[in-house]
């Protein structure tokens, strides 16, 4: 079975995809081009390419990884182009791509930082230079743009860049035995391999994975780059920051920089799926690291990275809600990784995590209007404290229009602009429905082209109605993911209850299907309290409110200005209610709670009586769209 095309045509994600296409991509482009300073401080990213191309003459500006920001934007814009025709946008990308090709060196090398600032240092520094990381993003962009437009020059340019790397890096004695501190080039090479079938790209990707973590780690001895290696000698920036503390195939825990982990293991999972894993050690590493992450090191929101300093994983069960890092990019990367784990091993658990990350950890990084971003996503905010403490200095009290290190804004669009591809999978004779959104999937099976059309108000409603069309008749399996939050459901085919078997979290509907068949899945979607494993000290004694895949939170402004002393009450029933104002279109939850009133002493042996009150919870992703405020995901339960 082959999926030919997926689309979202309405509902929760559709508006966001349209907004990205019509506004957000354009505004990001303007910022990247250094135009429209009223939107945000102009970015030097495009200008750096102009300098490298000899068109402009200024000094290099920005960080070492700036090139990647343009790469990610082109990739996202290409996905959007595939879905929403836009000749003007296509012309913009054409111009950028032309600029990049012009900036490329004759030998295929392309990296504006090194070309402009340190041409003598090309391909010498790997721990923190992001040199290959940047090229990886441009490779991914080139393939996305090729798929969207059929235009080959950018793809070919990036193949030349890849060819240069294939020449210089590899297992042969005259080659460098290196890899990039920040995994990404592996994914770029795998995209090139997919687009061109050129085996050496796959080989180099596998080489990078195999080389990573060989001891002694060459990062410890390579020449320092200068200002980009700050902290390279402290324990939080050691080899494990780059997943280079032991060979990848031996790794079992999610250690180091959270985004790096997700990018690396996305590549590892792809390699494992491409059968480059004779002894199963890649698969084993992927699964173990995933399991460690999902079992001990992930926020309820699908956010990862508990520490701001070094943007990294820490130790098991350390998940403070108030000073999380929980970078938007890390949840984006987690979606990439989860999607590949699903391909590798059809267990709905991967999609459960992916869905949490999509709707919560990632989406919280994006304002409802679409023009503001969180880099860091906390699960507790009290502006007086959050905005003051030095150990919270990585936390912004409100979403920002852009960042000096602007990795997140274009990265989340890489997911949103092709969100439909996160919903479906195919393997053998099974169509997997991993997520629910209004739209359709076209797939070919036994020479018939089928369309499964989906109607739903998911994630705010658990009713999903799917209609088959296109084909005539055929035996195939449709596997509907039963989300981990779903405790009861009703399933029917053509209005007749269907007793599906449950396989690794999927309801399997195997039968002879005909055009016009209708599948209806009604998932009960009550509000639920969630508690964490008691080893997570940070939220012990507290619960969070969820409904479906959405984590909910409270904001101070809905509770008299403060959340102090609020409690969730056992057995309280929360009802969905429509949001209003800027929250129009979202579903809120209201229900009874309690509040312990402020005391007249700081410490008291006399427990004050709590008072009944009404709570109004909003989706976590929607917080902070009405100004800076107190916010809490976890409340004490009484």
């Amino acid at each position: 079975m082959n999926i030919e095309r997926t689309r979202i045509t309405g509902g929760f994600w559709y508006g966001r995809m349209k907004n990205a296409a019509s506004r957000v991509l354009w505004e990001q482009l303007a910022i990247l081009k250094g135009e429209r300073p009223e939107l945000a401080h102009p970015s030097p990213v495009v200008e750096n390419f102009r300098i490298a191309a000899g068109i402009s003459d200024g000094p290099y500006q920005g960080r070492v990884y700036s090139d990647s920001e343009l790469g990610k934007w082109i990739e996202a814009a290409s996905y959007s182009l595939e879905r929403f025709e836009d000749p003007a946008l296509e012309r913009e990308i054409d111009a950028l791509v032309e600029l990049m090709i012009r900036a490329q060196m004759p030998d295929g090398y392309l990296n504006t930082y090194f070309q402009v600032l340190r041409p003598q240092d090309r391909l010498k520094h790997y721990a923190f230079s992001c040199e290959l990381y940047n090229m990886g993003h441009l490779m991914e962009a080139s393939v996305a743009y090729y798929h969207a437009t059929g235009k080959r020059p950018f793809l070919e340019a990036m193949c030349r860049a890849a060819d240069l790397l294939c020449q210089r890096i590899g297992p042969l004695p005259h080659q460098q035995h290196v890899y990039d501190g920040h995994a990404e080039i592996e994914l770029g090479l795998l995209r090139l391999y997919e687009a061109t079938g050129c085996r050496r790209y796959l080989d180099l990707a596998r080489y990078f994975v195999d080389e990573r973590g060989k001891q002694p780690c060459f990062f410890l001895t390579e020449a320092l780059l200068g200002d980009n290696d700050e902290g390279a000698n402290d324990k939080w920036f050691g080899p494990d920051h780059h997943q280079a503390h032991m060979p990848v195939r031996l790794q079992r825990k999610a250690d180091g920089h959270a985004v790096k982990v997700t990018y690396l293991y996305s590549a590892v999972a792809e390699l494992a799926a491409l059968c480059e894993d004779a002894d199963g050690t890649l698969l084993n590493a992927c699964r173990s690291v995933w399991e460690d992450m999902a079992r001990h090191r992930m926020y309820l929101t699908g956010a990862i990275g508990s520490q701001g300093y070094a943007e990294r994983f820490t130790v098991d069960d350390d998940l403070p809600p108030d000073r999380s890092y929980a970078e938007t990019c890390a949840s984006v990367g987690l979606c990439f990784w989860a999607r590949r784990m699903l391909t590798l091993d059809r267990d709905a658990g991967f999609a459960d995590v992916m869905e949490r990350a999509l709707y919560n950890g990632m989406l919280a990084g994006w304002s409802l209007e679409g023009n503001r971003y969180f880099y860091v996503n906390v699960l507790h905010c009290k502006p007086s404290v959050t905005g003051y403490r030095e150990d919270n200095r990585h936390i912004a009290l409100e979403r920002q229009p852009w960042f000096e290190c602007a990795c997140c804004p274009s990265n989340l669009l890489r997911v949103v602009c092709r969100l439909d591809t996160y919903l479906y999978g195919a393997k053998d004779d099974t169509l997997y429905v991993d997520g629910y959104a209004q739209g359709s999937v076209c797939f070919r099976h036994d020479a018939q082209l089928w369309t499964l059309s989906v109607k739903t108000d998911y994630p705010y409603d658990g009713l999903v109605r799917m209609t088959l069309s296109g084909g005539v008749s055929g035996r195939l399996r449709i596997a509907l993911r039963k989300p981990d939050w779903c405790d009861s459901y009703a399933l029917s085919v053509n209005n007749v209850p269907f007793a599906a078997t449950l396989e690794k979290g999927y309801l399997i509907l195997e039968r002879l299907w005909s055009a016009g068949d209708v599948v209806q899945l009604q998932m009960d979607m009550p509000a639920q309290y969630i508690q964490a494993d008691p080893r997570v000290w940070d939220v012990e004694g507290r619960v969070a409110l969820t409904r479906g895949p959405l984590v909910y939170c409270l904001e101070g402004r809905d509770h008299g200005g403060s959340l102090s002393g609020l409690r969730y009450c056992r057995d309280a029933l929360f009802q969905p209610v429509p949001g209003d104002g800027v929250l129009a279109g979202e579903v809120l939850l209201t229900g009874p709670g309690a509040r312990r009133p402020a005391a007249d002493r700081l410490y008291s042996s006399h427990a004050g009586e709590t008072q009944a009150c009404s709570l109004r919870a909003i989706p976590y992703f929607a917080w902070n769209n009405r100004g800076a405020d107190e916010m809490d995901v976890w409340l004490p339960l009484q």
Copy 2:
């Protein structure tokens, strides 16, 4: 009424005072002299004085404030000498004092850092130099030593130092209009004034207080000292770090470096008590800052300073138990301040806080054996997390034998070695008993010399039996502090119930007293749960266990190795039981609790059933005497 002498002769504190006299002072001295490296890395402190005196030739080592460490040690040793005769110790101090006098410059200046390293920079840098701070500590030491031994040379030397400052600094046009970033010189000058009656010392102390915080703050423009000014330009090290953001008389909140606040306001309270406060603005500032601190910025243990970075107060109701700074010195300073507030305003609330700080925040800094110290005192420890996170880097998992910045070890001895002076006060015709310990107070009233002898096992038992002797008969008031933790008590005089009036937290016993009169106060001392104001998000939903003035905590080793999932249960009765092993002599508490068992998933909507279990709580000050371990003061209540 005049207190002539106070002594502790048995019980809780006596053993600690004896241990200080016979062992701890000697070991500290050996470290300060750079001897006995088996105890701790040798300190350069005494050697610096030898270099300044021209006896030794090495380079200056240590921090700018090293001199103060020796000053505090001499002060503590002098207090101990007054109580436990020790000619050998006296000879040691004589030698140190001689060395200091030899190091002093002809004009009275004494500061080894500037003398050895930067003679040209004398009296030019005030924000972070600790130049006057060091001299203040030497002044306090000189007075303590004079009181203990009657020997004047050191006192006279420090008067010469004070005279130099009186010449150079002050309100006259040719004088410098400055003050030290770290308050302390004020206290040193006040001690000199007390010992000599020399008014100019009082005047300079008041000048420093009046000058502090005049705007624009000269710290912002004074030349930087170099490596000692790191961070001088960030918001946590701004003028408020030194309480210099506004004139002292206008200050209303506890802002900045926690120890600095306590030293400054100790001096302010003294000045107010010395009637140097015609319009009451000093008193007003003292009371307001105290109230803000005690109401919003103090840990249950009487520890202060919520942030490691800049060792400072943060904002109201920010009291994280896991990453507190809660420096031992800050609790010591709080005791200094509280004692002076009591003198100024006989409200037992000051003694309540002082007692919390003495028994908990300060004492936790000292191992039971007496030879290990915590600089930072957390209220939660989970070694895997506490020892890993970058934002916990200020936290040690076990008490240390010494510190590079060794302010705390000698500082806590300044309190312990004359702990008896924290127990009693006198004003007009009233003897105040602020705390309870086996021992006695001799006081003169109406020409009669009385002794009140106290028998008690406080703080582990609430029974206090006091006997008057010495005098014949007289009308006077004995005011017994009813601690804030005490809800019920029985009071008798000569076995007859006595109906005392309660005034500002004191039980007032006013009658005609005769020798042989016996007062008995029986305070019920049940274990109690304490909850914090709900605005303290960090411990919302949690309670702490206390008994009498002691805060209790749990250690992992008493609970199967881990505290995860443990809960206090409502209405559970805790019973005192004797400690054993290293905890012999301390009273523990046992009672029923509950544990939520580890889950098989990180997040779950199905609340696991808690299981009944037995809890064994130990005094907070006694934690970490059996090795690094999990520790919690605050547990969820169920």
